[in-house]
Amino acid sequence: MKSKNRIKSILFLTGLFILLYITSYLLLPYNNMGDNLYKKANGILKEPKDTIDYVAIGDSECSASISPMEVWNAYGYSGYNCGVPSQQLQDTYYLLERLLKSQHPNLVFLETNAFYRDFKYINSLETSIEETVKKIFPIYKYHDNWKYFHFYMLKTISHKIKPDSATVYKGYQYSAIVNPYKSGPYVTETEDVYVIDEQPLLYLNKIVNLCRDKDIQLILYSAPSPKCWSYAKHNAAAAFANENQLTYIDLNLDIDTLGIDWAKDSRDDGDHLNYFGAKKVSDYMGKFLSEHTDLADHRKEERFAGWNRELKNYLKLTEQN
């Protein structure tokens, strides 16, 4: 290639990068709803030492299904949702190991969808590239915000809203979008077993051992998800729980008790719960904690005053939608 063409290519790409960088700022959201997901999970590291009663961990099924502020509001238990979309179990293990250095929760809820997450290296590579691009050019992440462009502009310019503190949601991935699941009942009992692959199993055992060493009760749970869940997966998770004497809560089998209405409670056709579905799961989990553990209600404790302040923000943000 001629040097003139080389210079032209470099100039074109430089111009493009600058343009993408600048336009990114036009589409940035006005609060932390779609903020960096790891950043939110890592938000637990900012919590005062030993103030977390329970931790929920797993992939996006976890981050979208339990809202710790709902549990706090009803029961006064302090929790943190460390779920990260597309997280694989080895990352879950390392995240848990890291957070246990500053917190000593009584209980960990481990969501089971990550047991079956594809471990192909090529997929992990694709995810890492996507995350890097999103970091450098936020326009790639927030591109869909053009639909609400006027809304953001009005909010940010006329009211000068500052981004909310990352801790308001306590790691929960808030979404009030409603995209119903329409295919009807999906629980069909079978004896088939969806075997957990060797690599996730290795890290699953490490998580079990880590919790045992730290004297933490580990509870497996499956968030309601017609798109991701199957009875064969349930059988494998139940067998693992049985072998390791763990409690396993499969919420997919208890949709009616939970009161999940698939016309309103899913954000993406039955893959993940939205805020309305997560509220129901959070109530269920809060009730479970009150019935099966002796956690204390911290709502009136002075060292948890920050939680009550953040609750006000949380209610304001969720009631807006």
């Binding site: 090529i122 590239i129 326009i139 053009w146 979008i177 329409k182 056709d269």
Partner: protein, 528 residues
Amino acid sequence: MMAYNSLLYLFIFLPVVLLAYQLAPQSFRYKVLLIASYVFFLSFSGKLLAYLLFSTLSIHHMGLWLASCKKDYMPAAYAPEDKKAKKAAYDSKRRRILWLGIGLQLSILLILKYSGFFFENFNLALKAISFPRLLPSMKFALPIGISFYTLQAISYLIDVYYEKIEADDNLGRLALYLSFFPTLLEGPICRYSQTAKALCQGKPLEYKNLTYGLQRIMWGLFKKLVIADRLNLLVETIFDTANHYGGIIVIAGAVLYTFQLYADFSGCIDMTIGTGEMFGIAIPENFRQPFFSKTASEFWRRWHITLGAWLKDYIFYPISLTKFVKNLGKKSRAKLGKHLGQIISSSAALFGVWILNGLWHGTGWNYIFFGMYYFVLILLGNLLEPVIQRMVNALRISRTSALYRSFQTVKLLVIVFTGELFFRANSLTAGMNMFQSIFTGFHWSAVTDGSLLKLGLSLPDFIAVFLGFIAVYTVGLIHEQGISIRDRISGWNMFARWSFLYAAILLIIVLGAYGDGYLPAKLIYAGF
């Protein structure tokens, strides 16, 4: 997995291959492409690479075997009384090799792709006569591109047999022809004579090829991300819960699926051709503005062109030239006249083409119905042509008038949308029910009460899709007039050209349907 629209493919895989290709010595460049193609295949199908290897080795061997027969056959050296017998033995041996080669390729495809369907239907037939099921349920993992490279392999062997090309003794070259990564997922179905030479030439990269190729890739990305993947949300809702809808919603499903399929498949082919262009390799076009056609047969000459051409050359003509069909033609022409006789003799070949077209796409009865639907329509079109011509003459209608052409366009669109409704339906029964529900559940209110906006696409989504349509229609119109848009753009001054390209890139990024809130949409034809 590296779909052509993934960041991994566009920003890592492709640049690395381009760089390695450029840095490699010219004679080694085709090996770079071959390694890249196998890495690409491995990223999708892992151990199933064994099938591709087997196909390649067997085709290479069969080609050389055919060539060696020719070397061993020396008509000049035979005594005149032996010549006929030697010729017959030579022809017979070559035919056997050809059929063995084709049989091997087809066996793999039939076992992996079709055995489950045939076994299941055989068991159903047994059940109908109260007999217990005999055959097991079969489901195999399919290596990517198997339907595409099998057709390429067969065409290579037949072309060697008919001496249109010489058998390639270089295994690497043949392997690259069968597995070239841009064509592996969705074709187009290339002939050895079209691409093999360019693939192995190792031409150095050129600035014009790179920029033109990139522009073509961008156009493909636009169609795929802005139109196809956005429509995917709505199309999936309608077809997966078809029994909830009727009337206008089902019509919208069929229409929008047709556009989704076109944007998805032709978008992928644009990315394929663009990638080839960057390496200086001309990959044949697979679409030529099909929606500007006037008849169903013209539509199929403009849609998935390489499949149509493959079926014409390797199915239609061979069937037409069989003794049986020739005799049938002769007799029917003598008894029924030229027009009818011709139609009757060509119908056998046409049937072969369309049943295979349907089956090639998949193993459901809806695909077979799809093939038969076009078989009947094209046959009827040919049969009625003189009647229509007489009617047009009697009514003094000009076939070139705008009104008549509009009528033809509307008629063609109805035919295509109906065909795609059955093509996309989850089963033939589902397709039939959906088709019926257009008439039984028709309510105009679906247009006014906002029902369409509750199916997964919001108003801004529809606006994005509409803008996409306008762009695709305008580009089609310009191409229909034989104008090269890229040549025109390259004639603009740098400011205008760069501004246009920046705007196009921004549009793809902003209006594309990907990331949070969108289910990853697969390349539709990769599934066939």
